[in-house]
Symmetry: C2
Subunit: 595 residues, 2 copies
């Protein structure tokens, strides 16, 4: 029985901040060495942050990433490290030839994992299965790898993979196992999505059991533009049982001692008795990690931490809090400003901001119009009291009148319509932006996914701002989040009446959302089927919805693409968010047949 | 000597408008039959329009595209047709296996060219070299093809390819030629980019000469969101000489008789004497197109048209005109509204709009502030007179005062700064949007690429609108376009003084662009090197620019990414436009070292 002490750095890098990420990594390295770890594992693209996008087309950026890898190697004494980085390589290394390499500025790049031992990069694995679905654009930058470097560290065999490679049935894990690997190390940068971390862990457990390997899975954590990485790093034994599990949405170093049985696997390692295709197995390079100066000090026993997985709604809430915190911090802001209306969307956005930044860093602006109800005003006051945030009031009526007078000569004989509603929303947008410009606060917008889907929002109005916190949260889930948050503290932070009143934009007398939209309990499942699952009209009707309603909703989604294209970025939490995740043409003549 | 009459439909489809595209294609088919053509060639993705983007994830859309192909086949009598469409296929057809097919909604899709003969799809070619650079996301949707269907039509051998496949040295053209192809048909949807059509034609000529084949290259034409396809379809003989060339930016049916020598090629066809790799040649499927009911009627001789290639600046101007025309038309607008300031950007935008839509469909709004000069007002009047457009004047001072009063309690003790400048720009944006909302006009924005690059623009202000006409045109080229347009007519349309006065935003007294920016003659080449060519600071300095200036410009570009992400789409004309062509993170810690 051999024991290997593995450290996994569930790290929160910043895209592009190579020197900051280096500092962070050397700190982890020191901590791992202090803990007498044999191996430390960093997430996918830990050096550059993820996703680095078109920074990869700048050859200087790629060169600096390589220099940072060398710095890390120099700092890497007494412990073997697996480090996610970008490798500039020889195109002959590619698994499948791609004749025309015109991407990445004529460079040949791999999404790679370096293995560092004794201050030297002794092996490098290039990701096999590049992701080109959802938010992934990996073929824009990378070639698929083809080699499988298998490490022999103090008699234990370890295979290294990246992302989906770690669990895909056709992935390299089976080839490694067939060639005798006892431990599979998978590094990842997997963004949060409702339900995903549980599914991922199940796939890893299946691979561990099926292949009889120990799995060490290190995921990134932290917010980056539209994405928030959830952590949930995990180690599993050969039975698929969890040895250690990281906390979701927290940066931490996870430590565990894994036990490898002598014998059974050892024989296979050189016998290659597996039924794996010869071609896959032949790609395995054995790398003897020798002279690593791993000194088996007398180690105190570690009791590995197994964090409880979060319930779904808590996970969403925590994802949004971390996303706001990181967007604000990584972009150099210290304070945010939010238009608070007395409605649930702005209330939950404010609560998330307070949890992310502290009440003193959140400013509310209440901008009543003549259509604003007394209840809304009272609920804003109550929200401010509960969250302990400063709220300023700026009435919009005089500015609205000024616009109407300016436009009167152009609008002769025109009836009032949505134009006047949009004007009010845009005055509010301008006021928020003015406060933002004057004081350097970031404007958080408050629109939810249901509104964004059907275009029930005003471009440059309520859509004006830098970061759209609940953009991917359907209205029905906004209520769930509110109830979850109210259940946390000693007393509710979102006023009860805000949750009980019917939603309204208050842009004309007695307006209610349901005057223009189906009830959210009907709208949200239709939107989910159409936007997230690409279901057809017939499919959705078959699931039990009114044909005319479904048809109308689909049409509303399709014609409001131009608005979404100019929306601020926001946090992806579902299978398909608006943004890089959903790329629809604006000019689009496709009309789903109503029958 | 055999003669084949080839028709190429340089077609302008609308993305998603399957029935409209079908109607258009059946008309071309009828015309080709009337002209006694043996073969008609439609562009890449002619049925769906290009690029269909995430419509491809909707399986119903893909199924309807297949039904349209069947409709076209039914209409296809007496002529063989090559038609671009989306093929749903068997994953075993793929050239390289891609184990995890999670894109395109679990579908297996190919960017394909169907060959139709005698009302039947007799062969289908799947594009080999998928484009994942620039604006291309093909691996998100498609698998690479692997088969090479070679047609034998009345004794002539023809190979079919798509896009880059047609000229890449490692592409299928050589395999076809080695297997005896006499004609290579390449269908494409290649967007306009300065200088590209000439380079493309040279590559096609090289392939024609090197491989001794006739090349028939059919490109798409028309505007689609950020792209404008330029046409410039061409046929070249075995010496690389142009037989027929389509007009740029016009929809048309091109006809030519191509002459194939008997003998020489025929021997090779079955001898396979070439040095081509056996693997490539083995992928060639010979498809005998028999019973096509091609009746060799007595045909009148055709004098093929050879359109003159356009000069660069004319090509850009024409690209912008077509892009505006198609965006307006395909999105169901009839009229546009433009904020005219007396400056050159709004003047050239208005001229392009007038050329695209006619003066009666263009409305100008002049929105003077107290900082607006008398010259600006006079130049607006002169522009309106020259272009014969209606211009309304809406002063912004009273609305600006209303905002300042509303914000006074929040801005106690604050000095005036960019906030007040942005407010003015945003009032103008709101007024334009109000006119747009009230009358259904599309707002065209007027910002140029130099401004967009360095963030010298106001989000929700001058950036507010639906389509950004000159977004990818550097300021120095805006002047060239103006001079070009002024040289066209009997008298200039853009007032001479507008071209002579130093550019100014007129948002504070005596403001000039050069107070904030380097002169455009310096700024534009730096931007080109950094934004379009990914050159490093050191490279750009080496090219002869001041280090501090370059460093400042790079920094301005990097920190204004958040603005560009919310900008309206505009027309790509350069090697790299902002939009889908350049995907930079907003949260970006990368700082190019100043030394």
């Amino acid at each position: 029985m051999r024991t290997l002490r593995i450290a996994m750095a569930q790290m929160n890098p910043t895209v592009g901040d190579l020197s900051g990420n280096l500092r962070r990594m050397t700190t982890w390295l020191r901590d791992a060495r202090k803990a007498n770890a044999d191996l430390i594992v960093f997430p996918e693209l830990a050096i550059t942050g993820s996703p680095p996008e078109d920074l990869l087309l700048q050859s200087q950026f790629v060169a600096e990433n390589a220099r940072v890898l060398n710095e890390i190697a120099k700092a890497c004494r007494g412990v073997v490290a697996v480090v996610g980085y970008v490798r500039q390589g020889d195109p002959r290394d590619a698994r499948s030839s791609r004749p025309s390499i015109r991407s990445a500025g004529q460079q040949t790049l791999y999404n790679a994992a370096a293995v560092i031992a004794d201050r030297t990069v002794v092996a490098s694995y290039g990701k096999w299965h590049l992701s080109n679905h959802g938010v992934g654009d990996e073929s824009r930058y990378f070639l698929p790898g083809r080699r499988l470097p298998m490490l022999l560290i103090n008699g234990t065999t370890i295979g290294v993979t990246i992302g989906d490679d770690g669990w895909l049935p056709e992935g390299p894990t089976r080839a490694y196992a067939a060639a005798g690997a006892e431990i599979i190390v998978t590094i990842d940068a997997a963004p949060f999505q409702v339900g995903n971390s549980r599914a991922r862990e199940q796939m890893l457990a299946t691979i561990a059991r099926e292949q009889g390997v120990i799995v060490a899975y290190a995921n990134m954590v932290g917010g980056q533009d539209e994405l928030v990485f959830d952590g949930n790093s995990v180690m599993l034994d050969q039975a698929g049982k969890v040895i250690v599990r990281g906390h979701a949405f927290e940066e931490e170093l996870l430590l565990a001692d894994v036990k490898v049985e002598a014998g059974s696997r050892g024989r296979m390692a050189y016998g290659l008795k597996s039924a794996r295709p010869r071609s896959a197995v032949s790609a395995v390079d054995r790398v003897m990690v020798k002279g690593t100066a791993i000194i088996k000090k007398k180690r105190t026993r570690i009791v590995p931490k197994i964090a409880e997985p979060l319930e779904e709604i808590e996970a969403v809430y925590r994802a949004l809090v971390l996303a706001v915190k990181d967007y604000v911090r990584k972009n150099g802001f210290t304070r945010v400003v939010i238009g608070v209306s007395g409605g649930v969307d702005s209330a939950v956005t404010a609560a998330i901001a307070v949890d992310a930044l502290g009440a003193e860093h959140v400013l509310g602006i209440f901008m009543p119009s003549p259509y604003t109800s007394r209840e809304s005003e009272e609920d804003v006051v109550e929200l401010a009291r509960c969250l302990r945030i400063d709220v300023q009031t700026i009435p919009i009526a005089p500015t609205f009148d000024a616009y109407r007078r300016a436009l009167a000569p152009s609008f002769v004989d025109c009836a009032e319509d949505a134009t006047e509603e949009n004007l009010q929303a845009r005055i509010r947008g301008n006021l928020l932006m003015a406060v933002s410009n004057k004081f350097g606060h970031l404007v958080l917008t408050t629109g939810n996914k249901s509104e964004m889907s059907v275009g029930y929002s005003t471009l440059y109005g309520d859509m004006a701002g830098g970061f759209a916190v609940i953009k991917d949260v359907p209205k029905t889930m906004v209520y769930e989040l509110s109830k979850f948050r109210n259940g946390l503290g000693p007393s509710p932070v979102i006023p009860k009446r805000t949750l009980d009143r019917p939603p309204t934009a208050e842009l004309r007398p007695n307006q209610k959302d349901e005057d223009s939209l189906p009830p959210y309990a009907v709208l949200d499942p239709i939107l989910r089927a159409y936007v997230e699952e690409d279901r057809s009209l017939a499919d959705i009707v078959e699931a039990g919805f009114d044909r005319a309603t479904v048809s109308r909703v689909i049409r509303m989604v399709d014609v409001s693409e131009f608005k979404r294209r100019q929306a601020p970025i926001g946090v992806k939490i579902t299978h398909r968010a608006f943004g890089k995740d959903r790329r629809m043409p604006i000019t689009n003549g496709y009309r789903i047949k109503p029958e």
